[in-house]
Subunit: 414 residues, 2 copies
């Protein structure tokens, strides 16, 4: 037991353990746990808040449930009096990709950076108290570095260490080029932690390498090392890939209550416990109960999913909106004739298609004239809503339910 811990009163020790248990909830990895314990102990002993860093890429400000895994963890620290340091990586954003090859790293103007940051903050405000957050733009210090400073920074790390990063290692193995400037993104992230003297850096497990850079450079610059707190990556609605906007498998926290509820209902059963743990405000005990009830069959998966969907809507739109979204879902999908099991078809066609083409393509009817006749008889529905326009252009989304007549249903997977 460390000296710090032995100096604590019994009450203080309980407080350290209480906080540690909260922060460890749902976490994939803490590097290292002893140092986190030390930092909390010192914080309790000296009544001094910890600095919790979260770095943000200003190029993609749409916040979805995947991001809230980390945001919820932030909120826990904030609720216990610690300071959140949000760092907008605007320096990187303003540089873009000097090779000009990456669309993701296109150069952003000052206005774009500011606008994107504002978009983040408005969305974050739904999870954390933005009034208590420390905001930083890393261009403030990074743009001040000259060539000599950069050489000094680069002198503190080896090429071999950088090549250990999974994606670099892989590209070397497959003879795919790594442009030298790419080595600097992890260095910048590490240097941010030096400048802000962060105690803890949060991120998904895909940030493992970059967050450890913070520890590395803090040590090299004679600072106390931050603790890495890595959250699991949340699979999206497809149940396979990490939730992301580009994979179209996400629930945005700005989406309407109905959309949010409907999308949540399409989460695969096997991911439900993980979602309860990572994206709701349920306590560990509550999550545990739900999981056990599901396992022994006391709780029907559909009911659990409705609870999950309603909870998510409540968190971002309030209790009333959650109630309404649930009622709408019950009216349209459950009180109708919709069966429990709907055949799923993988859509490989275009993103937008006319309603006759869609119905024929799905083999629900054999000709476009049949489709037109069925529409005039109010026999075609999309997500439970009658189609009235026989020329309707349909945007194909994942989970879209197409109904023809009373008994033919197809759910589209995309």
């Amino acid at each position: 037991m460390s000296e710090l811990i032995t100096n604590l009163t019994q009450e203080q020790l309980q407080e350290v353990k209480r906080q540690l248990a909260i922060y460890a909830q749902g976490v994939q990895e803490i590097i290292p746990t002893e140092e986190l314990e030390q930092k909390i102990a010192r914080s309790v002993l000296e009544n001094r808040p910890l600095k919790i860093k979260l770095g943000l890429d200003p190029s993609a400000p749409d916040v979805h449930l995947g991001h809230t895994v980390v945001l919820n963890k932030m909120r826990q620290f904030q609720e216990n009096g610690h300071i959140i340091q949000l760092i907008i990586g605007d320096f990187t954003g303003k540089i873009g990709d000097p090779t000009g090859k990456s669309v993701a790293r296109k150069q952003l103007t000052d206005e774009e950076v500011k606008h994107n940051a504002k978009t983040y903050f408005e969305q974050f405000a739904k999870v954390i108290d933005m009034d208590k957050v420390e905001l930083h733009y890393n261009s403030k210090w990074l743009s001040q570095l000259n060539f000599e400073d950069v050489i000094q920074l680069a002198g503190k790390i080896t090429v071999a260490r950088l090549l250990e990063r999974d994606d670099f290692e892989e590209r070397i193995a497959f003879n795919k080029p790594i442009s030298l400037h790419e080595f600097f993104y992890p260095l910048m992230q590490g240097y941010d932690s030096v400048m802000l003297e962060c105690d803890i850096e949060l991120g998904g497990t895909d940030q493992h390498f970059n967050i450890l850079m913070g520890r590395h450079f803090q040590e090299k610059y004679g600072k106390e090392k931050q603790v890495a707190l890595l959250m699991p990556l949340l699979e999206g609605l497809d149940g396979v890939e990490k939730m992301s906007k580009s994979k179209k498998n996400y629930i945005g926290i700005d989406e309407s209550p109905q959309e949010m509820y409907g999308k949540a209902m399409s989460i695969p059963d096997e991911l439900m416990s993980k979602y309860f743990e990572l994206v709701t405000d349920f306590t560990p005990d509550e999550v545990k109960t739900i999981t056990e009830d599901l396992n022994v069959g006391i709780l029907h998966p559909r009911d659990a999913k409705m609870l999950l969907a309603k909870t998510i809507v409540r968190m971002y739109h309030g209790a009333d909106a959650a109630e309404k979204a649930e009622n709408h879902f019950i009216t349209v999908f459950q009180k109708g004739t919709m069966p429990d099991e709907i055949p799923v078809i993988k859509w490989t066609g275009q993103d937008q298609v006319s309603i006759p083409d869609l119905i024929v393509e799905l083999d629900l009817l054999t000709s476009k004239s049949e489709v037109r006749r069925m529409i005039s008889n109010n026999g075609i529905k999309l997500n439970g809503e009658k189609v009235e326009d026989p020329q309707l252009q349909v945007s194909i989304t994942n989970g879209l339910i197409v109904q023809v007549g009373k008994r033919k249903f197809i759910k589209i997977q995309k």
Copy 2:
């Protein structure tokens, strides 16, 4: 044949060929020859001088014959009206080695850089016309680069390309660390060529990679590419290692005529032609004649070496001093009883040793009292000079000739 070449008059074409022949003399590699021809052709056509770059490391300003291989080539360009750009790499020198591990890269002050540069120039003045030289300190532009500029520069090269450099490749293979800042030295050298729009960069073959960086970055920054002109490395007096101060196998161009002459006489026979070609001002035809005469036995190796020694002294101290150095050598070594073949002993003892210890150690006499007696009889000589002090501390140098009595000689190899 290129357009440029076909635009030349017959006379101009002859001039291009004449210059090309001179510049190609003694060169190890030209990358690529066609571009060199093009540049000379344009220079002749437009009566516009070429810019010939030579980069200098300000940390080690002692100039020896090894350096003159490149300097002599510079002089040929200068004699044909082209402009020499000397670049003092003071930016690198001022940074030192940020890891603090390399003694060679210790941080230099402004005063040290200036002093070392001045030392270079005084010595260079013996080979090239320093009044016509363009002087540049690369800190002028490199110190102006900010982090964003560095990222742009780094974005123009891949990690794989840098790892191709022999010493990097080797260190990776043997798991020896490469600090990231080391990648920037070749980048800086390349960027210097961008800034100065060099037409040709000169260097030893050990500069192959770094000089090609100039071509690489000039192209990336939309400039015309420089030609790499690589000179062979000159082996030192030991006949094995590259001539260098640290190997103590060099002839400094600031050494006294006698020292210079004596050291030149210790050059191994098999290197004579190379020395004639690379460090004298003899024409290719003259070098060819000497080599042929040596091969067929018309010219005795000792006489050839005396010609070489005298020529080297003449180049750095003038004809009179060369004459005197030769006479001194003849008086001391040849008119004496010194045999043609002297046994060589490899010295593994200390750098400095008393004369009695030396003589006994070499088994020339058996006791120190014998040594003292022999000294009082004027019977011991070092490099032909009588030893008078029986306590003399002798600095052991390579090639030192120790003589006891009339017939015992030993040449020390170190």
